[in-house]
């Protein structure tokens, strides 16, 4: 293989990427919001894990944990977490048909069916969790 020859380095101008590149295009900004949303999804998982830990410490400790979740600031935080989690979930569900190519025999399943199946799976799993956590 012959590597391609570049002009001498001192004759080239190398541009630098701005720190604010993610504000230059709407799609870049939305990408950053999607990445940021993972932090809030992780935060919710962390809060839930703390809940399990508090539960292991006894009923009184767990009650204190539940009381802390009822404060106005915690409620606002949960609304923010919910919004970011929904954004995270919906954006990834919409990217699923691009990533997953489902083949049945020699035929490819249309991407729209993969999208519908992803939505159905999300709804069904959410309903099961809702039943297990809140109804039961």
């Amino acid at each position: 293989m012959n590597p391609q020859k570049s002009p001498p380095e001192d004759l080239l101008y190398r541009p630098h990427m701005s720190f604010w590149w993610w504000l230059q295009k709407r799609n870049y900004f939305l990408f950053m919001v999607r990445e940021l949303s993972a932090v809030f999804v992780g935060l919710f998982a962390l809060i839930s894990l703390v809940g399990v830990y508090r539960l292991s410490q006894g009923e009184d400790t767990y009650q204190l944990y539940l009381n802390a979740l009822q404060t106005p600031s915690a409620q606002v935080l949960f609304v923010v977490i919910l919004l970011f989690s929904l954004y995270h979930t919906l954006t990834w569900i919409h990217l699923t048909p691009m990533i997953m190519v489902v083949r049945i025999g020699s035929k490819t399943v249309p991407p729209i069916l993969v999208l519908i199946a992803s939505y159905l799976a999300w709804i069904v799993i959410s309903l099961i969790l809702f039943y297990l956590l809140l109804v039961n």
Partner: protein, 245 residues
Amino acid sequence: MSTIKITVTRYNPETSSEPFTQSYTIPYKEDMVVLDALNYIKNHVDGTLTHRWSCRMGVCGSCGMMVNGDAKLTCATFLRDYYPGEVQVDPLAHFPVIRDLVIDMSDFMDKLLEIKPWIIRSEEKPLEEGEYLQSPDELNLYKQFSMCINCMICYSACPVYGHDQSFLGPAAIALAHRYNMDSRDEGQDQRAEIIGSHEGIWECTFVGECTRVCPEHVDPAAAIQRSKVQLTKEYFLSWMWPWGN
């Protein structure tokens, strides 16, 4: 007569170490593309302007530049979409600039070679046995990824490549995927070493802008994510099924 103002980034290493902009007011016609404007400047106003182009019909991939901040094929970008506003033309982002609007593409060309963009056979069958047959379904698995014209517009739109030029990049990975998906090819393992390396698919954070800007409607973002799924699957299979299939 209608006119339009075209502002162009100029760079001449013999006279300055930094680029500068220069504006030209030229006659405007509704059917002019940005490349026509650059050619008009070159032929009638300022012969020192340097830009790269060839086919003028969206096939050769030579005339990719930044037009008002977006990576575009200038032969397929009409001035009327900006008129009566001004048009700013810059060299493709993220690439070293040689002169004016001409970028150094050697990094991309090296990467193209790295992924071995040709059909690899573990053993070639004799010529007298005829061609390797392929069904339309098998063709459809990779056809869109074979439409790439190597214009490098996807690299210009990719912030990952902008941050780290060691990233293999969208077009090279899409082309690797094109050959990996080809039923006649047996070179997946050889390409896996390249695309599965740290500088390969795992660098991609799935911004997806490569797919949005592609003038040929190739979907490099999909190629990269599908390669991630494929390589992950193969890794776990080799772990669970070490004696192979």
